[in-house]
Symmetry: D2
Subunit: 355 residues, 4 copies
């Protein structure tokens, strides 16, 4: 009953097999190998557009480098208050951008709102020298609350951003889960809706360490090779990172992995919803389920060895706010989550809630 | 006949096997896994001292992060003019240190000299506000010229540095080759000779992406977790990087790999030395051979598909300087270099040199 | 009727005279002159403690450098949402600290609240690697809303900060106005209440360009000479900046200047309060008056040439929020503000409001 | 007999008078005042071209900000080994550029050579990802050795730089002395010879704190307002810095001041040359005289209270190198240097040398 993080799972066997297979003969280092070239082609095909694709070992690197390519040091990066880049990367975006400012936008369910974005854009007018200058909007897809933006929503936000000459980044650490859930094309979810740069996450969803920064407008990528090198994120034996990406994407494998994780989250969510005393404040759309549990259930689950995060009361609003005797927790499923673990989790919760 | 770079080789099969084996079950992310803990213990045993050990995916990250832990932004980092950190990392040390200055020290055969270091230390007196302040000395072991410092030499330089309150870093991208060649203990080569922090390179010598930053004085590592996280170098599925280090070190495997590479370099060097018209300006002590070849040999080798780097005239002094009709080249061997490739290389050179 | 900014005023004649007088003979450059030494002594006397005092030409430099001395690059700087360092310095604190994060704390009347600070400190626990680490609390005295913290309030906040090993900075761009208003001693207002470093502003209150960074704990200043030099804020002809500070402090001149500005603000506030249709949401405690005016008054004032800032609706709460037909404006007085200008401003407002 | 630094002198009385005169009434802050606008016009006239002109309080700020506008963080800035930006600004260019690398070029008499520049440009080819990218060439005019580049020399170097897409900066801390000495027009010395950005120094030559960054190509200045603000170098009461520039330039005053300093240096140089046992390795072209003195003269001068810098043996070549019993010293004159001080210095030297 490990629901702490999708990072706690290992890798897909197909990805492992690809690493083993890549270990053959010589290959030019630093991304000049055939695997890396093929990965760029493959990602471009997936997005139905010639992209500039850069592989890096971690999600923090993907986000921070992508944003550094979009903002000057005196720029503002707009994102949700709870975005991963805001709170969970120890200031990596500030570091890689040489001191840009992250400006939080509030919003329910982990999603920014139109009003929130409009107010923020208005608060950072271009040319007001005493303030940092509007540079980038970062949307997390899926969000840190396990919710999703529809392509239509992305279009609206991207349109607003672009009208202010603000570039649009998508933090796609769980992009696979988002695509599997929404059933839209990767192109539709990104550049067709106005996204300029995507952090495409492989690691949480089956790779060992493999993330891609995907520039839909190749001109924006002019500096990226230098930024990546200087950041220590240019892997010398590039084949071993590119082979992961190729295997992960091959034959829709990435979506199979994500679908499994999503399905388990749905199973968990449906089960929880049916338990009296449990409520799910946010609609679980990918592989994360946030639930308010009775303390008794929380205790019973932990006693049984279940692992998940206590989320405090963060993000709860109105009737959803915690009452005495309740806790707010996050469960994350992955491509290896087993149905019987989900069911056991539900059983324990059900019994404890029934008291 | 691939002698372009040790990065062009794949990984040791034992390392690959360890990655495969690590892909089992759940493990806490971000370095809290058992593999990562075991790697710290294992490295500490190797160095006969309780060390603080941090794994990162690239050598540039290892160097730049290690140096950032040793210098303030207004600090000076002293290193050889041709050091990798000086010339081959696109300014990574400057980036991670928030703008410290790398100060080059000249010296024959890729090694700094006592006089050079003394003059440099004298040129950067502590407390002279208009100048950057002395902070770190970085020694490359092996050097970029394929030569080595003896422990006695390291002791002298480290002693000079410490008397000026300057910390000592060792760039050990090819530390395994150095140890295999010198036959001294890792402890003797490092902290017993005054090294404070080591970048211990696994990738060039058999890993897929695995380097360790090793602090012999654990107090110096107080900030390192934040620096690494913020730099995007904290691998989420830490088991896959730590498993590499464990397999690589297991039973002296790292030294076997290095010894093979060194042996092939010796074979190549001996062969070349015996050819009239060829000369080796620097003593090949590890897995790199630098040679002045007749242009005819260079042409014949390239025609036969041999791969190696043209080194310009960089670093040549006195009688060794290039004469008309000569080229200066670098050959690098690795743990997979085959004897017959070395012999074929020698044959072609011999015939072409004989004209 | 210039109430736009205290920066729009010139300098006190005594300060100008001191500059003229300092222009005599030779003096060692870069702060080694007698004026600079005397300024450190004089400031130390004023604060009843041996301080480390550094003069710089601008308030942004004073704040950003002071904060850079208190935080690592991966640190968090806590301040009010509307603090000058947050919004009005184009990211200078982020720049000088190499990418630290400013974390806003909300609170009425421009002041942080105990609950707000407690929640923020709780949200940034020390040692949680994925987050920036708590480093500094910055209090603006006077605040951007023209209000003041009492020494007792500062003590409470500083105590909370110190219990979390967080250093306390005071942005005293209008420190003179605060002292003149509260009638407490500079020592009481700062280190006796727990302030570690003060940005002491001279420019807004009578100097041409002169601010001091005052470290009450001299150990914290160990790096400051380098930070200042590297920031280009070490004035070569130091006598001309130090002479300003000496003249400004001499015989309580700084407080006379501030008292005049404060008095004019009180005159303006009293007059406005008496006008029906005008309200002052925040208590004007120094030389800034924030008022909600009828649009008609705003128009009449502008037509008559009055200069002040439109403040939007920023910071208004509850009943104070803008209603149709109202505007929210900021008037700033200075040491040269004339009573008849204040009275004329009031007359026009009164007539227009009476409509 | 103060020859230590031109920074040890005060300000020209005309500059002081202008500060006094500027202290009248209100003026918009942060450079929107009439003085600042007039200064931009006046500087543009001087350079016979519409320039973008930004005033800052220190020379370090001028240089570091100008360079930050010309280089990305992964850029290389080429300059003479002994340039002020290289050695005397505590890493300010690295700081403001977010970690660019300064690459030294050697050359006699403080001047880079054509061969040196060519070799350096060749060593930093554009597009080689592992290296920092060529971005800017900085020429000091006058040099740190008191010598000058002719417009023809600047043209050659700037042409070479531009052919590599490298921008050209001139550090004109002593630009006035250079113009006074060469008798060429400011336009000829700068943009007509290929200079893109000039740091125009007022402080060493008669201002209290006033330097200008002058962009001849206004497009390069697009970011500068933000860089300056963020660096804390946007003076709030801009009139007091602009008034200095206006008075300094008015009626050729700047050149009168510089001419006086240069004349005194010539007087000193001529006198020293005539003394047996004294030699001047570099041609004194502005207000600095470098001389090898007998130790006896050095002692006698110091005993008499003369102030100047010991220059070590730095920069001496061939026959000029120090012999036993000699010291190498630097004397700097200024607009207030008195002829009788020069003559007394010569007398003492003459007597001691005759010893």
């Amino acid at each position: 009953m490990l629901f702490a993080s999708d990072n706690a799972s290992g890798a897909s066997q197909k990805v492992i097999d690809a690493i083993v297979a890549a270990n053959d003969g010589y290959a030019p280092p630093y991304g000049a190998d055939d695997w890396s070239k093929a990965a760029e082609v493959r990602v471009s095909e997936l997005f139905e557009r010639k992209c500039a694709v850069f592989l890096v070992p971690t999600g923090t690197a993907a986000n921070a480098l992508a944003l550094a390519a979009l903002t000057p040091p005196y720029g503002a990066i707009f994102c949700h208050d709870d975005a991963h880049i805001m709170d969970d990367e120890c200031g990596a975006p500030e570091f890689f951008s040489a001191g840009a400012k992250l400006v939080g936008i509030s919003g329910s369910c982990g999603k920014i709102s139109e009003a929130g974005l409009a107010a923020t854009l208005a608060a950072y007018p271009r040319g007001l020298v005493k303030q940092v200058q509007p540079a980038a909007l970062s949307l997390s897809q899926a969000t840190e609350s396990g919710t999703l933006y529809s392509p239509a929503e992305v279009s609206v936000f991207a349109g607003m951003a672009h009208r202010h000459d603000v570039a649009v980044h998508m933090d796609g650490a769980r992009f696979a889960n988002a695509i599997a859930s929404l059933g839209v094309s990767p192109a539709e979810m990104t550049w067709k809706s106005g996204v300029d740069v995507l952090s495409l996450g492989g690691t949480k969803n089956g790779a060992i360490m493999c993330e891609a920064v995907v520039f839909f407008d190749r001109d924006r990528a002019a500096d990226f090779l230098y930024l990546r090198k200087r950041g220590g994120h240019t892997v010398s034996k590039g084949r071993f990172i590119a082979a992961q990406m190729l295997a992960w994407l091959d034959g829709g494998h990435w979506l199979e992995l994500a679908q499994h994780a999503n399905d388990q989250a749905q199973r968990l969510a449906s089960g929880l919803r049916a338990i009296s005393g449990v409520r799910l404040p946010w609609l679980p759309q990918v592989n994360e389920v946030f639930a308010v549990l009775p303390v008794a259930a929380d205790k019973a689950l932990k006693a049984a060895g279940a692992r998940y995060y206590d989320w405090g009361g963060r993000g709860l609003e109105g009737d959803d706010c915690l009452k005495p005797g309740e806790v707010f927790v996050r469960m994350v499923t992955s491509f290896v989550t087993r149905e019987d673990d989900v069911d056991r989790f539900l059983d324990i919760t059900r019994k404890a809630a029934a008291g």
